[in-house]
Structure formats: C-alpha cells, structure tokens
C-alpha cells in the first residue's frame, strides 16, 4: 500500500494464494464433466459424491496442466503425494479435501511483473474443488439464511493453488500480480482466466509493519474477493484496519477475514471457539505422483511464449523499455501479434505499438473481440508512416477496421481520405509561404515557433488531409535552400 495515507509510518506486506480451476474435460478424480453452468447435480458420480466404497483415480491432464503452470512459474517439478485435509463442511462430499500438503508437485519459482519486479512463488499444488452452496432466506447471506442448498457439480473439479511469497507491497502490485498470473495461466492453456465465473479465485494474506522494518507482522487471510477491483479494495481496507489497530496500540489477531463487497469491509469469518485442526495425513487411496524427467522436459519444451517474453519481444521491436505501459497493455490484450506483423511488413513498430495501446485497446469490445486483420493493420501503419494518411485520418480508419474489419485503402477511400501525393503537398506549402512573406522571413531567420503557424495554414488549406510531418519536413528543406 502506498504509505502516504498514514504518513510514512507503515508499509503493507502481501502474499497471494490463487486458486485456478484447470481446463480439463473431466474432474480431478473421476470421469464426470468439468463444465460450468449446468443444471444442479447432473455432473456427479459415486467418486465425486463421496459415496461409500468409491475411490479416486488421478486425471493425467490435470497433472499435465499443473506441470505447465509450474514450468511457467520457474518452479521445480518434484515427486509428490496427496494428503487428506479433514474438516466438516457440506460443500465437501467426503468431509475431507484431497490436496497436496507438505510435498507439492511444484516447489519454488518466481513470477516477473511487467515492472520487472520478481515475486517469489512458494508452491503450486494440485487439489480438488468443492461444491456450491446457496443460502436461502436472509438475502442470501450465510449468517441470516434459513437453510442452504448444495450442488456438487463443481465438487472434484481440479484446482492448482499458487502460493506467492510475501513479496507484494501494494494493492496495485497485487492486481498486477494477478493480471500477470492470469496471463500465464491462459497462455499455458491451464485456465480460461475468468475471475467472475470463479475459475480464478484469489485469497490474500495481509500484514503491516513500520516502514523500513524487516519484521513479519501478524497476518490476516482475506477471502471472497471476486474481481481485481475487490482485491484492491479489500487490501486497502484491511491494511488500513490493521494500521489503525496497531497505531492504537492494539495487536492484530491472526485470523481469516471475509471481504464484504457491498459493505466495503472485511469481517472475521468465524467464532473464536471453532478451532480448526485439519488432521492432515497421506491419502491412502492415491499413490505417489512422480512425473518423469521426460514428461517435465516435454512440458517445458512445449510451453510456448509467456507474457514476460512477449513483452521483451514487443519492447525490442518498438525500441522501448519492456516495463513501459504500452508494452504491457498490448501483451495483456494479446495484441502483440500485430506488432510482429508490422515488423514483418517493415512498418514502424513504435508507431504500431502506440496505435495498438491507444486506439485499438480503446476500441476493443468487453470480451476483447475485434475485426482487425494483422496484415491490414501493418499496411495502415505504413500508409501513415509514408504520409499517405495523416495521423488523424489513420486513427479514424483504424477505429473502423477494429469495429468492422476491412483494408485501410478501402476504408480510407470510403471516408473520402484522398491520399495526398508529395507533389500536391509541396504546392500547398509553396502557396502558403508565398502568401505570408513576413512570417516566412522570421522563420527563415531562425524563429522556429513560426513553423506551427505554417503547419496550421497547410492544415486549413487541405481540410486536414495533409501529412503534417511531411509538411514540416518540406518547410525545413525550403529554409535550408534545398
């Protein structure tokens, strides 16, 4: 958290736990479909319903996706086992969760934020999801509900839980971390990245400490944030709450707190007398999971290009820093292929990057959809570069290409943007100079401010259809006697 809110006295320490539902065809331990939005209790079988006598068998594809996530996070893949985490809760059919406890499949690692900062990864382990509980009465709030209903369609869906080190120091950085992780999870094919549908769920551990201190303060775990926005709000609220407690001489209690989106606050999740003791022990119905070196190597080899590397590539092409805002925007939106297309067409990659980060990003639909073709985009950049379209014209043409598709020549023609030839522009510049001899005299004597005057005249004379950079260049040449 930026510390200004409390003077310079406190800083926030944040670790994130991200649960990612894996995009498999079936559940983690049975052949029931892993799908979202079906009628309640249709995707169930003896295994995921926890019927007596049923036994789990591990889904190979879930392991594959977990390994991909680990590889993308620079984790070490290792021989691992499953444990049972025992506690009673009605969304869990066996009243224990099968999860990896002290020996996860992926250990260690790091994630690079667009800013270049590395956030440590503690582990990324496999576990099963729970069912869905709906509270009836009391406005759907758990504490005020009359009763609840349970649907086990999601019970047993494979999850990977990614635990970060407490390396994150602000709500903004936490959001960047989740954005970056989401990009990685989508890039590896592990997840659809839909936070709103619950396929990505974020819990965070928050503590505060005096600025500059190395202490690890007592932390609170915050749950139930279902968007990046609520993650940021929850961290800000919780950090402020803890500072208030400590600044007032109190002690922060280690506990789990629930984010209430409508109230905009966190609150303690359970009564104090309810001690949790998960009684972990090795799951006797499953055997060791020990992915072979070949498997791990194949996963690494086929990982594809991840966001950090894509940012490096875009930055190199556009000759800007990888940590710059347009680069991360373009990569986050998956538009870096357009930069590559511009490079391929020998168009100006820097100009392409700016057009993508500004005009294209601003015109994308809510779902990120567009009709822009890569080669068409590259041709547009070239046309602007060559002065065949002014920047204003290029922006107008681009917006239409994003919304409707089509080639730049055709769209520009449709809009009546005549490509003004170099000869025609020269004639306009000559006219303007001749018509304003006094101003030309001052400009010729070295008063560069007059350039703007002439450009304005050129713009007016051409109805905005001139390439003004080219016009400037003509003015300079005329002054230099070329």
């Amino acid at each position: 958290m930026s510390s200004e809110a409390w003077g310079e006295a406190w800083e926030t320490v944040i670790g994130l736990e991200v649960h990612c539902e894996l995009r498999t065809a079936t559940k983690l331990f049975c052949g029931c479909p892993n799908s979202f939005g079906d009628e309640p209790n249709v995707n169930v079988c003896p295994v995921c319903l926890g019927l007596p006598g049923s036994l789990p068998v591990l889904n190979k594809q879930a392991v594959e996706l977990a390994l991909r996530i680990g590889a993308a996070l620079h984790s070490r893949a290792q021989s691992s086992i499953f444990h049972r985490k025992n506690y009673f809760y009605p969304d869990m059919p066996k009243d224990y969760q099968i999860s990896q406890y002290d020996v996860p499949i992926n250990a260690g690692g790091w994630l690079e934020l667009p800013s270049g900062k590395q956030v440590g990864i503690v582990r990324a382990h496999i576990e099963e999801d729970t069912g869905k509980t709906t509270h009836i009465g009391g406005g759907g709030r758990i504490h005020e509900a009359g009763y609840s209903l349970v649907d086990y369609n999601r019970a047993g869906v494979p999850l990977v839980e990614i635990v970060s080190a407490p390396d994150i120091s602000s709500a903004e950085e936490a959001r960047e971390y989740v954005e970056e992780l989401r990009g990685i999870l989508v890039a590896t094919g592990a997840s659809d990245g839909k936070m709103e549908e619950g396929s990505l769920r974020v819990d965070c551990n928050v503590s505060v400490r005096p600025a500059g201190s190395e202490e690890l303060g007592t932390r609170c775990e915050i749950k139930n944030m279902n968007s990046l926005r609520s993650l940021g709000r929850a961290i800000a609220y919780e950090a402020a709450r803890q500072v208030e407690v400590r600044a007032g001489g109190g002690e922060v209690q280690q506990e789990t707190r629930h984010w209430d989106e409508s109230e905009g606050r966190t609150h303690s999740m359970r009564s104090k007398e309810e001690a949790f003791d998960y009684r972990y022990f090795p799951e006797p119905d499953l055997v060791t999971l020990s992915p072979s070196e070949d498997w791990v190597a194949t996963v690494r080899a086929n990982l594809g290009v991840l966001p950090a590397e894509r940012r490096r590539r875009v930055a190199k092409a556009a000759r800007v820093p990888a940590s710059s805002e347009p680069v991360s925007t373009v990569v986050r939106l998956g538009l870096d292929g357009f930069v590559a297309a511009a490079v391929e067409a020998e168009a100006d990659a820097g100009l392409a990057l700016r057009r993508l980060a500004n005009e294209v990003a601003g015109e994308l639909g809510d779902d990120g959809g567009h009709h822009l073709g890569r080669e068409e985009f590259a041709r547009l950049v070239s046309m602007e570069e060559r002065g065949e379209l002014t920047s204003a014209q290029a922006r107008s043409v681009l917006k239409i290409m994003v919304a409707e598709g089509g080639g730049p020549e055709e769209v520009a023609g449709r809009l009546g943007f005549e490509a003004m030839g170099a000869g025609a522009l020269e004639a306009v510049v000559e006219d303007v100079v001749v018509a304003n001899p006094r101003e030309w005299g001052r400009y010729a004597a070295g008063d560069d401010k007059l350039a703007g005057f002439f450009i304005g005249k050129v713009k007016a004379a051409t109805g905005g259809n001139a390439d003004l950079r080219a016009a400037s260049e003509l003015l300079r040449r005329r002054r230099a006697g070329q």
Partner: protein
C-alpha cells in the same frame, strides 16, 4: 464339548446334500448340466430357512433375485453357453460390498436402507463368473470388531456353538459358509476380519496381498489395510474364488498392475522341501491359549512329516503390530467415516444448524465401537499427537516389512496361530475393548505389511471348537501359501476335542 455338536448330526454346522458340496463341485455340475443352479440354490435357501433365525448370518437374504439369477444360469447352460467358473455357486457378500439397488448397510444404523447406485468391482466379477448372491452378510459395524457383536442388526452366532461368537468382523460371511447357507462368501480383512472368523467358524479364509483384489465398492474402514478375500470350506475353493475376484482394476489406484499367475497354480504339490518358519513372537503372544499353541505345534510337526523343513523364526517387530494397528486403522477410519453426515444419503437427525445436525446424526447413527475408533483416530491425527502416534505407527510398518523380508529370505512361508483363542462366549469381551483388540494380535502383521495370509481349520480346542492356523507369505506369495495350506488341510485332524 459344549453347544451343538460340530461336523455331524443335527445343528447348523452339520452339512449334508447339495449344501455340503464344494464350490468346485457345484460349478462343475452346473456347467456340465448335471446339476441345476436352481436346485442347488433351493437347498441352500432351505437351510437358511431352517437355521438363519438362530445364526443370524445375514442382514438381508436376496432369495428372489437369487432365484432369478439361478434361472438365468440354467438357461445359459441349456443354451450351450458357459456361465463361468462359479456357475450356480451360492455366495454370501459381506454387507459392506456395494450392490447396485440392493441395501448395503455395513450393519450400521447410519446406512440403514441405503441402496448403492453401483456395484463393487468384486460383485461384478462374481456375477460375471455365474455366482448366485444369496444375501448380504452380517458384520461388525463398518468392519470394526472381532466378534460380529457390534452390529446394528444384532450378533451373528457361531454355527458350531450358538452361544458363542463367530469372530469378526466378517462373522456373517464365515458363519454362512460354516452353516452351509452358501458354498462361498466374500469378506474384508483390515486386521484379521476374514482370518479370525474363519478360524472361529472352522472354515478357510484368505486375506490376499494388498492390491491383488480391487477395493472399488468396498466401503472403506482403513484404506491402506483393507483387502477383500474369500471364505470357503476348502483351500481349493478359496483359491478358485480368489482367482475370480483378483486382478487389476483401473478404478482402484492401489490395485497392483499387471497379470499374476493363478493362485491355484501350486495346489496339489504337497509341502515337501518347502521351508516353513514358525513365528516365535506370535506362538507366545499375549493371551495365547495353550490348546491353540498346541495346535500350531501339531501343524508344524505334521508339515515336517510331509517333508517340509520347519524351523522357528523371529520376526521381532510383530510384537508392535497391535499398537501400530490401533493407531493407523482408527486414524484412517476417522477420515473415511466423516462422510456419514446426514447430507447426501443415510440417516439424518434434525439440528438447528448444520453442526448440530452433524453431531446428532452421527451420535444416533454410529454404534459405540465405531464411535470409540473414530475418537481414537481423530485423537491420533490431531495436532500435537501425529508424530507420537500415527507417524510412529507408519514407521513400525516399515520395520515390520523389513523384518518379514529378512524372514522370507530364509523361508517360503511362515506359520502362526490365527486367533489366540477359539470362539468365545457372546458378551465375553464387549465391555473391554482392549481385550477384544487382542484377538487380532496374530493377524494384524500381514495387514500392516500388505502381505497375504490364510487361516485354515486345524482340529479343535479343549472346548471342541475349531482352531485355525495361519499360513503367511510374502507379497504375491498366494500360490505357495495356498500350496502349504492345502498340505496342512490334508493332514488336519477333524472335529475332535483336544
């Protein structure tokens, strides 16, 4: 001799007619058309009709379904098809094997009336082999017990003496075979629950190598120890049944991969030149009755007389088996039985909130022994005690496997008593759990090691009741184990009081 006479005259243990036939003889007769499955079944059902009220081997007799199935088997034979290795053989299934649409209760109130929507793998295999399921056999609730007295449906009585227990937890299965209600039965063995009742009821009971038989559809007690196995009146019948139910199952991750030779592959060879070790620590185990000890000595001598090389061997860590077992099994059970919570199936008692509902449902649904083990296991796993109890018990398992490996470097099989005593009177041990637990002292080591073991009848004790001796073998050593068991069977004294 007390109670009903065994082996002759009147009484539930005195067999005659088709109910005295071996499973092999029945299957051979039915497959050849000399016997009809229907006739075999009716004689068995008549015996059930005559004695079940006194024995109470079953929670449920599935006479109608059995008749329909027998008719199918006979029709298949008439049509020239082969109904399978167990054609027309009546079998009893311990009531913790899931049977689609047929109540599977584990002798617990918490599952009263629950009908599984699927069949256990062994149930499918039995059906595919042409066996006729005659009923669901009584047991100690959730397989926790050594007497079948901890059943919500009341105790099973020993067919050899109705005032005595049949052993447990698979007491109903053992009694069904001893009483001629069925030629075969399936049970489960977590710490001796097949072998101990087999010994007390005078039948053969096999605990196979862990992973040889699929556990899919076996309601779990202690997952790392549970194994399904057969009861029969002869070693050859037990081998036949085990061959039918064994084999890899993709639905059980702990099922052993690959093909294994028939467990009957070494039958009929005698025990000549085999090396047999008598486990010193078990022969003198806590609570060992002199007549049982004497029977094991006799068995060892009888084997030696047939040409086996018999010696005493020390397996030191077996003395820790009971303690390790009573940490591991309850710990796993406490987790396995958490799911009986009144939400998805089974009993529910009302409560003002979910936790109250859980607590009252489980208090009403579980019997005292199950509660005791859940408590013990929850304690053993809870924070602060894991290392001292569960963790340490897992290390004892390692020690035991090492000790057995060493013993099997010098011996083909090992020999011990099955149960420290013959069948004890009903009610004798229900008030003292530890005394009951001691019944398993000789059988537990095989479960902890994952090894196979078989109990076979070997004469009678001072009370005239059956004594069982146990043959133990290394992992997948069933062929040689059953070879020795069969050799012992051939020389075993029958029925006379010591």
């Amino acid at each position: 001799m007390s109670g009903s006479p065994s082996g002759s005259g009147e009484g539930p243990a005195a067999l005659s007619g088709l109910t005295s036939l071996s499973a092999r003889a029945i299957a051979a007769g039915v497959r050849s058309g000399e016997l009809s499955a229907a006739a075999v079944l009716e004689e068995h059902l008549a015996r059930v009709e005559r004695w079940e009220q006194q024995v109470h081997a079953f929670n449920l007799v599935t006479a109608d379904a059995a008749r329909a199935r027998a008719a199918q088997v006979d029709a298949a034979v008439a049509a020239g098809e082969d109904p399978g290795l167990l054609a027309g053989v009546p079998v009893a299934l311990k009531d913790l094997l899931c049977t689609r649409g047929v109540p599977t209760t584990c002798s617990s109130r918490i599952l009263a009336g629950w009908c599984p929507p699927y069949d256990a793998t062994v149930v499918k295999k039995m059906a595919a082999a042409g066996a006729i399921v005659i009923g669901k056999a009584n047991m100690d609730e959730f397989a926790m017990g050594s007497s079948t007295e901890h059943s919500a449906t009341g105790p099973t009585h020993n067919p050899h003496d109705l005032s005595r227990v049949p052993g447990g937890s698979s007491g109903g299965s053992a009694a069904a075979v001893a009483a001629g209600f069925s030629a075969l039965a399936l049970g489960s063995d977590t710490g001796g629950s097949i072998r101990q009742p087999a010994a007390l009821c005078g039948v053969v009971g096999v605990k196979p190598t862990y992973g040889l038989v699929s556990r899919y559809g076996l309601v779990a007690f202690a997952s790392s120890l549970d194994q399904i196995g057969p009861f029969a009146r002869s070693v050859a019948d037990a081998a036949l049944a085990l061959d039918v139910i064994s084999g890899h199952d993709e639905r059980d991750s702990t099922s052993l991969p690959g093909e294994h030779p028939s467990v009957a592959s070494r039958l009929g060879r005698g025990a000549e030149d085999l090396r047999v070790g008598v486990i010193a620590e078990l022969a003198s185990a806590e609570g060992m009755a002199p007549d049982v000890s004497a029977a094991v000595t006799d068995a060892a001598e009888a084997l030696a007389a047939t040409g086996a090389k018999v010696e005493e061997v020390s397996v030191p860590s077996v003395r820790y088996g009971l303690s390790a077992y009573y940490m591991i099994a309850p710990a796993e059970a406490s987790s396995n039985l958490a799911r009986y919570d009144g939400v998805r199936y089974g009993l529910r008692r009302d409560g003002n909130d979910i936790t109250e509902m859980y607590m009252s449902t489980r208090a009403a649904g579980f019997g005292p022994e199950v509660k005791r083990r859940i408590m013990l296991g929850t304690y053993a796993l809870s924070a602060g005690y894991y290392d001292a109890y569960y963790g340490k018990a897992q290390k004892v398992r390692t020690l035991m496997i090492r000790d057995f490996d060493l013993a099997y470097s010098s011996f083909d099989v090992l020999l011990s008593p099955t149960s420290p005593t013959t069948a004890f009177p009903l009610g004798a041990k229900t008030a003292d759990p530890l005394a009951m637990y001691l019944s398993d002292v000789c059988t537990i080591p095989s479960n902890l090691a994952g090894h196979p073991a078989v109990s076979i009848p070997f004469g009678a004790g001072e009370d005239g009741l059956p004594v069982g001796v146990q043959v133990l073998a290394p992992a997948l050593g069933e062929p040689v184990m059953l070879q020795v068991a069969e050799a012992l069977e051939a020389v075993a004294p029958r029925g006379e009081a010591r």
